[in-house]
């Protein structure tokens, strides 16, 4: 079946098998592999995208559900070829190791700061509690969010 959607502002269309997730279609059919396939059951947040402006796991959105909707992936966060300040902060704070969780965490942190410009530590922890990281123990990820928030 055919679906049409906007990814990072660009209109896209794809022929999909009805059982495919939005994650699969982004990665394998539309050329946006930035969202990651870590658990495919909504338990790790690595595939996080903004779906009509809301933070969701793209592995749990049926591709056909995205027909006519807007998706922003990690590839679409920067502007004019510059990194988003959250992306810069992740690099500067050492919040990246293997990096497999990073795209999802960056999207989740961008979503947090969009709703709460200066979150406290508890708010950062709760906002990122749907994103697993196996490498960092999270400390430098929290540093990065604080750095990006300027707090």
């Amino acid at each position: 079946m055919r679906i049409e959607l906007r990814v990072n502002g660009e209109p896209c269309e794809a022929d999909v098998w009805a059982g495919e997730s939005l994650l699969y279609v982004l990665r394998e059919r539309l050329g946006y592999p930035g969202s990651k396939n870590a658990c495919e059951q909504g338990e790790c947040g690595s595939c996080s995208v903004l779906y009509d402006g809301k933070l969701v796991c793209s592995c749990l959105v049926l591709a056909a559900q995205a027909d006519g909707h807007q998706v922003v992936t990690v590839e679409g966060l920067g502007e004019d070829g510059r990194l988003h300040r959250v992306q810069e902060a992740f690099v500067a704070a050492g919040a990246v190791q293997c990096g497999f969780c990073t795209p999802g965490l960056v999207v989740a942190a961008v979503d947090l700061l969009a709703h709460n410009a200066s979150p406290n530590d508890d708010e950062i922890r709760e906002a990122l509690s749907g994103n697993l990281c196996r490498c960092t123990g999270y400390a430098k990820i929290f540093d990065a969010v604080r750095l990006a928030a300027g707090t």
Binding site: W17, G19, S21, Q41, C59, L60, L62
Partner: protein
């Protein structure tokens, strides 16, 4: 990626725009599995545990969204998300549901998972179910044959089984709001993103204690007692449970924890 040389399996997606259309499609294709937030259905698909002939995508049915307040009752659309259940002013009307919603998954799951989905899945661990049970929830279901309402405890007929007929959809659930005090507690082996090892909702209203627990029996069950029996109520709750040993916890622990949770919930609601 090259085009597939042959067609893939027979899953189809039906996307109605109105409730009427949804009911018609469900009637025409009773095997169609409703999908709203996808937090349960997609896991089944991604891990090859289910290949339904069709999926009924309810995302575009506006009538299933939101909530409203009439005659002292609050009606929640089947498509109400956990994130919405945590927002003012609904969180103040149904505080236990809001507390339960906060325990569900991470923000991504709370943005997509819905109360209707929790009812449809009818898991013994469904976090919305205990708060709805103590709030006297009634489930509104509909089909092309018409609508009907049934109490939640009758709707939940077994582990992952509900009372829906094959042509019916969950439209919403209504509860008595703003009455008495209530709370929700959930035990999991880590401090976020867990399936309940055991959970408990308690409401104290009009001299009556109502408790409902999750993950401690085949369905979330309701226990009632007069306020005067508060001191023995934790034992009553624990005794009403029929927990099992599984990968998430032992039956003995679940019964023990239920007793502790009930005592703490009473302290909160009677303070």
């Amino acid at each position: 990626m090259q085009e597939e040389a042959t067609t893939l399996g027979a899953v189809d997606v039906l996307t109605p725009r109105t409730l009427e259309e949804a009911l018609r499609l469900k009637s025409e294709t009773p095997g169609a599995v409703p999908i709203q937030g996808g937090t349960d259905v997609m896991v089944e698909l991604n891990f090859d545990r289910a290949r339904p002939p069709a999926l009924l995508n309810l995302n575009e049915v506006a009538a299933l969204r939101g909530w409203s307040r009439t005659n002292g009752r609050v009606s929640l659309g089947a498509g109400l998300t956990y994130a919405e259940a945590m927002e003012h002013p609904l969180a103040e009307l149904l505080p236990a549901l809001a507390e339960a919603a906060r325990t569900v998954g991470g923000p991504q799951i709370r943005n997509r998972g819905t109360v209707g989905g929790n009812l449809g899945t009818a898991s013994p661990a469904g976090d919305a179910l205990p708060p709805l049970l103590v709030a006297g929830a009634e489930v509104n279901v509909a089909s092309v044959r018409g609508e009907r309402t049934l109490p939640l405890h009758e709707f939940l007929v077994g582990p992952k089984r509900n009372a829906l007929a094959e042509d019916e959809l969950i439209v919403g659930v209504s509860v008595a709001a703003g009455a008495g005090r209530e709370t929700f507690l959930k035990v999991g082996p880590r401090n976020a993103m867990v399936i309940a090892v055991v959970s408990l909702a308690l409401r104290v209203v009009d001299g009556e204690l109502l408790a409902a627990f999750g993950s401690a029996g085949p369905v979330p069950a309701l226990v009632r007692a007069p306020l005067e029996e508060a001191s023995s109520f934790p034992e009553q709750v624990a005794a009403a449970a029929s927990p099992i040993d599984d990968v998430r916890g032992t039956a003995a622990y679940r019964r023990h924890a239920l007793r502790i949770l009930a005592g703490r919930a009473l302290d909160r609601c009677l303070a």
